[in-house]
Amino acid sequence: MTLIKKVKENLIHYNLWKSVQEHDSKVLSGFPPSKLIIDDEDNQEEWVVPKLMTDKDFSIEEIESWFVQIEKISTKRPARITIGLVNDDATIVYYFIHDGIVKPRQN
């Protein structure tokens, strides 16, 4: 199974997202069962970039290229994307990458 398929399966069957789609075998889009952050809009589309845990070095340029790519697909530059890191024990950890500085959230 390819990297993107693993993350896709995890989003659908572990995190219960809806309408998960692959784009250019590099990026996933979909809808989580509930808002990821309290301030999100209802039914907000989320963008996920799958990566291997062992790929340590992402340059700012590479991260920027994900934003540009998603902008081309959705016609709107997203305020944040989610990176899905796949470990060799089948754990996938997700982290937000925001487009610039954001106010910290209260825990």
Partner: protein, 363 residues
Amino acid sequence: MGKRSKNFKELYPNPVPITLSTDAYGINLPDIIPHNPISWLIFGLRYLQIQAKSIPSNVVRVDFEDDVFKVLDPTDMNRLWSHGFFGKGSLSRSDPNWADRTSARLGLDDDTQQGRNASEEITKQRREERKRFKLERAKVQNLELKQRQGALNEDEEVELNDLRETLNNLKKIVPARKAISTTSNSLREEDEVLLIEGLDNLEYLQLQAVESFYLKFALGAIDIFEQNESLSSLELFKKCNSIDSKFMLNYVVYHHFRSLGWCARSGIKFGCDMLLYKRGPPFSHAEFGILIIPTKQEFINWIDVSSVARVVGGVKKNLVLCYVDEPIEDIELSEVSDIASLLKLYKVTEILYRRWTPSKSRD
């Protein structure tokens, strides 16, 4: 506790997936009483009885595809999990319980309690309570802001007091040990596909490279197939090294702790290399986080060590720095022919790292 430990004994009978002759054939070796020759005789007879039978073999099939080690048979998945806690369900947090959880979620069988009490469900319940707390808190904070600005009317004053009380009550709720009910969402299209195609075969047990190699090389408890061709320990060793340049280092440490009776699992959740459990995840939380430090290579800096220590310390575990002395001469791992001799060239030294606060650690 007594009931629970008895149940655990049935669920997790052995620390390794090896079947002993005494268990397989139900023949127990009796105690020997030194001055009683009959006890020697009985022991001898039983011993011969066991020797006459073949060695029980219960080898699990593992498939290696796309750089992933998979166990597909449900009985085998359960065997590797319950005998030493090897592997992780590809769609679960630890044991492969996705099918149980999903049939509970979709309301497929009557006896859904098992799926509902999965650790994933309990976590979900806790998170939902936390979410509710945060919503109420946001309301209180809004009204408090208004109050400070002196713009609060009488109705809002009453509301604020009510909300404060609700918030206090929410704080008192003891986190659930058992999930009460799962919120039944409406069926997703994805779920309808599941209902048609069935819940079989979607989840598999995934083994890490170090786990697979330990089970094959050290225990002989699995057979590994790549495109239906069986791999020897040596072939597997070379494969693992080619997937992961840190495999040898990880394996040395993994083998070290498993041999000493610890249950070692991935430390990814806490930013370290491994976690050590006394017996396994169902029994107790991991006590130690392991950070592997190869002495031959450049030392990772102390700031990184201290960051990992704070994360590990935050979940009440101790950090162990595991120094690995590698062979003095560089070894080309792809040309190794005797793995056991190679392992003898490595040395592992543990150092417990703990944050020390002078004002708090006076006793």
